[in-house]
């Protein structure tokens, strides 16, 4: 097996694992992830010196079980990732299809919108929106969804333009099929593999962005155990207890790496491109 296939399989296992972890979180957690125990603050993981066997990954600065919070945090990451991909996918694919299929003036407008979106400083605007509307999971999902569609749009537009000129589409025109029929039945199925690959990339970006927003204090509000928020809350203690940022940080890294490996594997398998 080639190194790429191994990586893709590892990626698939990681993503599936985190997904299962998110779905079955309530059954998996050893403790209530929100329950504080001020007598047991910053307990190291059980495999480190001073660790306790009942707190596998230790506790945070409020004495909450880190392992339980980590498991619940996977729900936030997966939710953010999936919901953002769906929202941004809908927006991006619609725009890209309009531009790529109709062309001409419509395409110019679509390109203009994409250019404008790229000019807007992503993190700053996301922070501002969350700050102004008030932070909640829904607001973060909507904000990221409304901001992260441009790669979907670019890839859809380019691939639709390629597919549009192919023989079977010409045949459908000749057979008198309607525009909508051609777009949904002939074009879309033939670009969907590209979109799947973009979706993995966007999911990874969305998860990283949510973590960054939460880290800056303007993402998912406490006491929700977002991995980014966990790092943010722990960073004051990291000099004496480095593991408090390592646990959520490594989790984020592994999840995003898994998604990227999976995306690369899908690209090889489906012969798609992920570069806009």
């Amino acid at each position: 097996m080639s190194i790429r296939k191994i990586a893709a399989s590892i990626g698939a296992v990681i993503v599936l694992g985190v997904l299962l972890m998110a779905i079955f979180a309530p059954l998996l957690v050893p403790h209530d992830p929100f329950a504080q125990d001020l007598n047991l603050r910053l307990v190291p993981p059980s495999f480190m010196e001073g660790g306790r066997s009942d707190h596998f990954l230790g506790t945070d600065q409020l004495g909450r079980d880190y392992f339980s919070r980590l498991i619940y945090g996977s729900r936030i990451s997966m939710l953010i990732g999936l919901a953002t991909v769906i929202t941004s996918g809908l927006i991006g694919v619609t725009l890209g299809m309009l531009g790529g299929f109709i062309g001409g003036r419509v395409d110019m407008v679509v390109m203009f919108i994409i250019t404008c979106r790229l000019s807007i400083p992503l993190i700053l605007v996301a922070l501002a929106v969350v700050s102004l509307i008030g932070s909640s999971l829904t607001v973060v999902v909507m904000t990221l969804g409304l901001l992260l569609w441009e790669r979907f749009a670019v890839v859809t537009r380019t691939t639709v333009m390629q597919v549009r000129t192919l023989d079977y589409v010409a045949a459908a025109w000749a057979a008198g099929c309607s525009r909508t029929h051609i777009l949904l039945r002939e074009v879309l199925p033939n670009i969907v593999h590209h979109l799947v690959v973009v979706a993995t990339l966007e999911m990874a970006i969305a998860i990283l962005l949510e973590a960054a927003l939460s880290f800056l204090g303007l993402g998912v509000p406490p006491p929700l155990p977002s991995w980014g928020l966990m790092i943010s809350e722990a960073k004051d203690y990291m000099f004496f207890s480095p593991w408090v940022i390592m646990v959520p940080g490594v989790s984020l890294f592994v999840l995003v790496l898994g998604i990227n490996f999976l995306g690369d594997g899908l690209r090889d398998m489906l012969g798609a491109t992920r570069d806009a």
Partner: protein, 305 residues
């Protein structure tokens, strides 16, 4: 060429206008700005006073054109918090952000290009795949977390570099590395694929048939063609890096433009938020313009037609 330039300029102006509108609309999202500025303890009277003082009692459309008109003349308004013109605030913090961005870009280019060339010359081998895999791994690293890890490792445990602030040049090293991390994978892939295409081209076969040295073939003939898109993309990447510097500036406590933006967001200092969004957008727009010009300049096929 001239027509192309004019079209690009017109586009840049249109995009700027759109971003102006968006960044204005952004601060009106919360509904009543006056309430937000006044804070939770304010009385109805306080709010009314603030509304008058900041001109928020005028129709939104008037406020908008007033702001656009001022911005066009370089007046970005006054900070509610610092009671100072926003332009001054940005100007004072610009050197930090620019130094950080350029340091990051320098690190990114000096890492990505040699590695990209190296991988391309060993295209299809295990080394090539491994190098590309490292790029994917780098991409998965959350930048703020990487920053913290570097602080713990190099700042605290090894004590080599300062962990925050930029009192001397070495304060830029760690943040520069973290910022570079985000740009390296894209630049590396681009260098590699450009070099792979170039090395397989007919003109490289000609260069070999001419008996040129391997160095000249790779570094002169292939790289010159592969570098064109890399240089163009590097300019755009710098734009992303500057707007992404907000996270890194807050991790390393660098008081740059990004930090200013973050601070003003958390303190409801709307004129500053508007201005920073606009400012970063304009920088990005200018950099994409620069990127197109660089491309046209570097590619003789575009330059001489």
């Amino acid at each position: 060429m001239l027509a192309f330039l004019l079209r690009r300029l017109l586009l840049a102006v249109l995009v700027t206008l759109t971003v102006l509108t968006v960044s204005f609309a952004l601060t009106r999202l919360s509904g009543d700005l006056a309430i937000a500025i006044a804070g939770p303890q304010a009385t109805q009277l306080d709010i009314e006073i603030i509304r008058k003082a900041y001109g928020l009692d005028r129709p939104v459309i008037v406020q908008f054109f007033d702001w656009v008109w001022s911005a066009a003349r370089g007046d970005l308004g006054r900070s509610y918090l610092y009671h100072e013109p926003v332009a001054n605030l940005i100007r004072a913090r610009l050197p930090v952000t620019m130094t950080l961005g350029l340091t990051g870009l320098l690190i990114a280019l000096s890492t990505a290009i040699p590695i990209g060339i190296f991988a391309a010359m060993r295209e299809g081998t295990v080394i090539d795949r491994a190098v590309m895999m490292v790029a994917v791994i780098g991409q998965a690293m959350p930048s703020f977390w990487l920053g913290l890890v570097l602080i713990i490792t190099f700042g605290l445990q090894l004590g080599w570099l300062p962990i925050s602030g930029v009192d001397s040049w070495d304060g830029y090293v760690l943040p520069g590395i973290v910022l570079a991390f985000s740009a390296i994978p894209a630049l590396m892939r681009l260098t590699r694929s450009g070099m792979v295409d170039a090395l397989a081209s007919d003109y490289i076969r000609t260069a070999r048939a001419k008996g040129l040295s391997r160095w000249s073939i790779v570094m002169k003939h292939a790289l010159r063609n592969a570098a064109m898109p890399v240089v163009a993309v590097a300019a755009v990447q710098l734009g992303f890096m500057l707007s992404g510097s907000i996270v890194i500036e807050s991790v390393f406590a660098l008081h740059g433009v990004g930090y200013l933006g973050w601070e003003s967001i958390s303190k409801n200092d709307f004129p500053v938020v508007q201005a920073v969004v606009l400012f970063l957008a304009v920088i990005y727009i200018l950099l994409t313009l620069l990127s197109d010009l660089l491309n046209a300049f570097l590619d003789p096929r575009l330059r001489t037609t």
